[in-house]
Symmetry: C2
Subunit: 445 residues, 2 copies
């Protein structure tokens, strides 16, 4: 038996009318103003991803907005409702949806992901988030956002409970034997009777085991608690990226932590974000990249985005040209890791609020910008340098997605870095992840 070559994984992360660094995207005449609520747009994106042999479509989410957020935050479909509609218009591409472990109940959410796994024939993935936006708490009856330790403890237990519920029925629980008159074999239906710190869930789930055994668990841990959670339970990660050196550190750390928990480090796939800009020449690609930057300048939106890391704090109340205000006490309420980095940079570089806000959306040369050959080289370099197993790709327009698919993907295939045909029908199969055996069947053996 020869070992299959390690291959790059690619997912598509559609934004609709504009992600965090795409403030001006809605102004692009090629982008429909209602893209983020147009199911036809998402079906086309999923079909394009499948045509390109990508591993998955990846839908992010938030359950809180305010009027200064970028366009796609303001108005978007709930991810599982979206992905279910997409499922029956595709047959191979994985379907990963974001859902909060802080603001859902395990029984309902486990059932919805298992339903998606059935509907899609084994392509469901759950990106577990603990909800970074503080304001979300206010939409769920809480005065205060739960603290980090509670959110991550809850997330870990939530995944455990969901996996327990997904094993309610053994794979052969329904003989449906007309002659013997037996539809269900009741010995293969198992209650969960979970009682933990955060949840008490009796079970069983009222849904048979899904084609993947269990939907694939993604996570996006940056903090200490987040990395630990990922290493314990995740099978995929939406990693923070950063510089090549930062990505190497994160990648090695996650693989090490995963092994330390007795897990095979190959069974956790690290994805970083990528926004490739592809053109006929490197110069044309850099020109387009700068043009995009000009389109996206929007100080108001940058202040809104900045506020997001500090619990939806309103930064418009400060003097833009005074030193960055003292908001350290708000870091715990928002995205602590990001907020802390911002504060440190503002202090060491002595920045004003305007400089910090503009910096969030400053022009940076992206690593995956250039002619197809250049972009393929860069992806190969990052891949071989141990920074990633896969890339979550975001494009501004369907045309720019096509430039990548038609130009870069064939080069990756020629180099043996990317599949030339789907070799599996399920998301687990695409990612090389094992199908977990049902715990009750295993206990019986």
């Amino acid at each position: 038996m020869t070992t299959a070559p390690r291959r790059l994984h690619l997912a598509l992360h559609p934004y609709g009318v504009g992600g965090p660094g795409q403030h001006g995207l809605w102004k692009d005449p090629r982008v429909a103003k209602n893209a983020s609520i147009d199911i036809g747009y998402y079906i086309r994106q999923a079909q394009a991803a499948e045509h390109a042999l990508f591993d998955a479509l990846f839908i992010v989410d938030s359950q809180f907005i305010n009027a200064t957020y970028p366009a796609h935050y303001l108005n978007r479909l709930e991810p599982l409702t979206l992905l279910s509609a997409v499922a029956t218009h595709t047959s191979r591409v994985g379907l990963v949806g974001t859902a909060s472990s802080t603001y859902n109940s395990p029984f309902n959410l486990a059932r919805r992901f298992a339903s998606l796994d059935h509907i899609s024939g084994g392509r469901a993935g759950w990106n577990v988030v603990t909800s970074f936006d503080t304001g979300t708490a206010g939409n769920f009856g809480l005065d205060e956002h739960l603290d980090y330790a509670t959110r991550y403890g809850r997330a870990r237990e939530f995944v455990e409970v969901a996996r327990g519920l997904w094993d309610s029925y053994e794979d052969d629980a329904f003989p449906a034997d007309v002659e013997r008159g037996v539809f269900l074999d009741p010995t293969k239906l198992h209650a969960l009777d979970h009682e933990g710190e955060h949840f008490k869930v009796a079970g069983p789930l009222n849904l048979s085991r899904s084609p993947q055994g269990q939907p694939v668990i993604f996570q996006a841990g940056v903090s200490e608690e987040g990395r630990d959670l990922a290493a314990r339970v995740a099978e995929g990660i939406y990693a923070p990226g950063g510089t090549l050196a930062q990505a190497q550190e994160y990648y090695a750390d996650i693989k090490r932590r995963t092994a330390a928990h007795g897990r095979d480090p190959e069974h956790i796939k690290v994805f970083i974000h990528g926004s490739p800009v592809v053109a006929a020449t490197d110069e044309a690609a850099r020109r387009r990249e700068r043009e995009i930057h000009e389109e996206d300048k929007d100080l108001g939106r940058s202040l809104g985005l900045l506020g997001r890391s500090f619990g939806a704090h309103d930064f418009t109340r400060y003097d833009l040209d005074a030193p960055f205000p003292d908001v350290a006490h708000l870091a715990e309420k928002g995205g602590r890791t990001t907020a802390t980095k911002i504060i440190e940079r503002a202090r060491t570089e002595n920045l004003t609020l305007r400089q910090v806000a503009e910096g969030l959306n400053a022009y940076k040369e992206g690593p995956f910008t250039g002619a197809p050959e250049t972009v393929a080289d860069a992806l190969q370099h990052w891949f071989e340098a141990g920074t990633l197993d896969g890339v979550n790709l975001a494009f501004r327009t369907e045309e720019e997605l096509n430039l990548f698919v038609d130009g870069v993907v064939p080069l990756l295939q020629k180099r043996g870095l990317f599949r030339t045909a789907y070799e599996a029908d399920t998301l687990r199969g695409h990612l090389g992840l094992p199908v977990p055996e049902n715990r009750h069947t295993a206990a019986r053996a």
Copy 2:
């Protein structure tokens, strides 16, 4: 202006492999054993309903099972995930899904129904249930099922909050005006800031107003609390039915209560359940009806179903031929109205447990069994006798659905009782319900 003639509404209520009175359906060789989790089955049912010009597909639900429940309870897709997949394979038929107000949070559920309304182009309906199965509590961390008053109080406030969230954006909140650089008009985005007895929800929803303004609210109130809730908030009811006289009483009571709340009684549509059995002759239809009854006899399942009305009580522990046991104290834990009726009947008729269980699945001549002309006559009679505005139709097989659609529907059309073409694109349109004006737009006027 002439008044449109009052017309019958028809919805399709698919069971998959067997509903409460269809224990043996899974044995029918024409029914796929996995129908209740096969999205292809539901898509075909929805397309058949749309081909027949029905108002809606109606998906019921429960979040609790035990091994004695009928087949479709054991294993079924979550309704909204199911309906979203169905939505893009149909264009006119309404899509009504059941969801519990006891075991969901308003922000999540309002968002999911609004997403379905966007995805379907204005065809979403929400059947609000308070979760009759006591065992459901155990799947959501509660030791005891909430009592009637709490469940119904919560349901009423839940619908209020959902409607408030659905009005977060005024219809023209997104000018997306490139020249002025204005994507969102922030004066048309409204927080809710709801603080009530059961919920505290800040809002706004991160989803623009959906095509129907607000998804259509269905309810299924039988008890005093249920009828009151329906009369206050429902636009459709899945009524208990019963005898013609009982249905008349219920219909008149609901319309009277609705008017008493200052609402137009035409704006609440009462549906009863119907399981038509259609054949070439009345005799053949009655023969088929009896044959179905024989197929469905299953004492174990009947005991399970009986248990459902008493908080998933295990009735197999009693002597089947002794008098019906004293379980009055369990009525409050289950479906109080049904449980009380069962106890009263057992006492007055001096029944054993076996007689009660068999009685739940006893042979009864259905009102809508016969040759097409007979069934059309019966529907017309019930409709004109003031028992219903519509019927939720359940069929055992796709063939039996077709017998109704090809035989009975044309007769109803000839008599002017049913539409000959869709006259609207939305569920509200089919049901003759007004589109609610956004509350903030109204306040501005």
